[in-house]
Amino acid sequence: MLRVCWKGARAAARCGKVPAHPLQHCRRYTTAGDSGSSAGKIVAAGLLTVGGGVGGTILYAKWDPKFRAGVEKSVPYSDQVFETVLGPPAPPAAAALKRPGKIEPLQISSVSEALKESKQPKAKASRPDPAPVEAAAPAEEAPAPAQTLQAEVSHHEPVLTERPAEEVSARLEQQDQAEQHVLTALTAGLEESLGSSAKITLQAIGAQEAALTAITAHTDQLREAMDAQTPPDEKSAQWKALTEALSERTRAVDEAGDALLKAKGELEKLREVINGAKQRKIASARPQILAAEENLHSMIVDLDKVVTKVQTAQSEAKVVSQYSELVNEAKAQFQQELANITPEIQANWKGLSGKLSADDLNSLIAHAHRRIDQLNRELAEQRVREQIHIETALEQQKLEDQRALERAVASALEHSREDIRIQQEKKLQEVREVLEAEMRTQLRRQAAAHTDHLRDVLKVQEQELREEAHEVLSSKMMEQETHYRRLTQEQLDTFTLDMNAAYARLKGIEEAIDSHVTAEDEARKAHQLWLSVEALNYTLKSAGADSPTEPLEGAVLAIKETCAENEFAQALATAIPEESLSRGVYSEASLRARFYDIRRLARRVALIDETRNSLYQYFLSYLQSVLLFEREQEAPPAKLAAEDLDTFKLLAYATYSIERGDLELAAKFINQLRGESQRVAQDWLKEARLTLETKQVISLLSAYANAVGLGTTQAP
């Protein structure tokens, strides 16, 4: 859409630049653009409408479930859409029915709350159940509350739970109090209603009796008037009295009727109250209820009796009135006829006797004769029909009697039933009282026994509990003690462990320190040894050209001191020859120098040994030494053979060795000299030995000192 507009704009721009024949193109573009934009607009508008419709439908379905149901029915797959968008449809409202039914049981619940307050939730739950039933039959108010209460009772019986004694007693007290209240209210109400109803009933009865008397009086008077045996002047009085009596009767009857209605109303109220009282089911009110019922019954009975009396009187009066009516009718007819015949005569024919003329009298007599004939005929007919009439009348009477009988029987039956019921209730009440008394005594006995038993059981339980408590206490104490002991032991152990560890560590540290100390000591000693050995070495150097060294004693003593506990060093130190200690040793150089003297001398006395040792031999050996030419130095072989043991050879080897600095080898060779040469070289050999020994020992010592010095760097 935007691109279309853009293209259109560009095309328009292009059109603006090149107005020649691409105008058609432009136009086409613009029209296309226009149509495209309008089509787009149409599409957009359509989408918007559809979307709006769908959204509106969904919103309205959310608000009105009926509409939703309708849409779901009509449009397929809309229920799925609704479910995805709105969720499942709301559940149907079942509570609507319950509302009208709730009002009725509320009257009763206000009364029963005092007794059944704990069962209220269940009651409320159960009440709606009979309520719809009630709603179906709202006419019967009285039995319906009883039904609901019965339903309540039946519902509540299985839900009884044990409650603590105090609560129960409190509740019982409460209940008793409530009962008392209700009872007093009931009795008050009953008495009130009884009193009022009694009053009104008495009034009604009085009224009825008055009516009865009025009716009887009226009937008597009417009969009397009908009999017409009285003189005419009294007749008017009679008729006046009659009318008075009639009015009196009607009034009385009306009054009686009103009173009866009132009484009936009051009795109904009383009945209602009694029923209400009965429904509350308070036992103590029953005698009163019974008494009230009795009273009610008696009142009803009396009222009915009186009513029947009145009715009979009324029926009699009706008969009489009918008769009087007939008579009046006949009289009226007669009068009419008379009036027809004698129109001038006034209607009131009582005061008519003196004012009539002869014609009138004749016509009157003729009419009377005619009437008499007629009447005779009628009488004859009537006599004929008498039987039939009598029979029919009898039949009617029978029927009426039967009906009356039935009515009477029914009422009597009802009365007797009521009586019996009341008697039964009375008896029931008596029996109940007796039983209650007995039950109370039994309960008292049981309570006493229970208290005794409880006392015993409590004693025993107390003992047991005490023992148990003791046991538990002792066990706990033991436990605690053992625990405590264990803890202390643990503590001790840990402490000991710690101490041991610390001690061990301390020991270790001490050992380490000691070892360090010893090591250092050793090191020091080694150092000292080394120093002393070095000193010894140095003293060796103090040898002059021909004088021996200083006596090594001091240095050796120093060594001995420094390594007092070192056996090796001690041994070595002691291994140093005494001479070197006391006198010192000659240096190698001096020995070397001396060696040449020895050599010369040994050469000169080479021939001299124990066999040849005269002066002549001396001379010969000297001669030999002068005349023998040989190399001064000769490398000694690795092994000495027998011929090598010649003096000169030996001396040559020794010279070679000593020139190479190997004093030891030279000494070895010199040691092989025999004879006088040996004697001559003895001292030198000794010195050489000394020097060599000392040097050896010193070199050992120094090596040892070095080794020890090196070794002390390591842990021992």
Binding site: R594, D597, I598, L601, R604, V605, I608, E610, N613, S614, L615, Y618, E676, R679, V680, A681, Q682, D683, W684, K686
Partner: protein, 76 residues
């Protein structure tokens, strides 16, 4: 010093020889003069005697080391 022993010995020997020879000569001279009427034989004799003694001494001195000495155990 064992090597000086020989020298010493020789010194002793020579000294002894000189003494003995001198003494022998002297005595010889004396004897010759005194007893033997200036013959030279006692001088020669005395010198020879002296020389011989010296020689023998010298030899003994030099041999002394090699001569075995024995000890006779005293009989109890």
């Amino acid at each position: 010093m064992s090597e000086k022993e020989i020298g010493r010995k020789w010194d002793r020997c020579l000294a002894d020889c000189a003494i003995k020879v001198g003494t022998g000569l002297g005595l010889g001279i004396v004897f010759s003069v005194v007893f033997f009427k200036r013959r030279t034989s006692p001088i020669a004799f005395g010198t020879g005697l002296g020389l011989g003694m010296a020689y023998s001494n010298c030899q003994n001195d030099f041999k002394s080391h090699y001569v075995l000495h024995s000890n006779v155990a005293k009989e109890q």
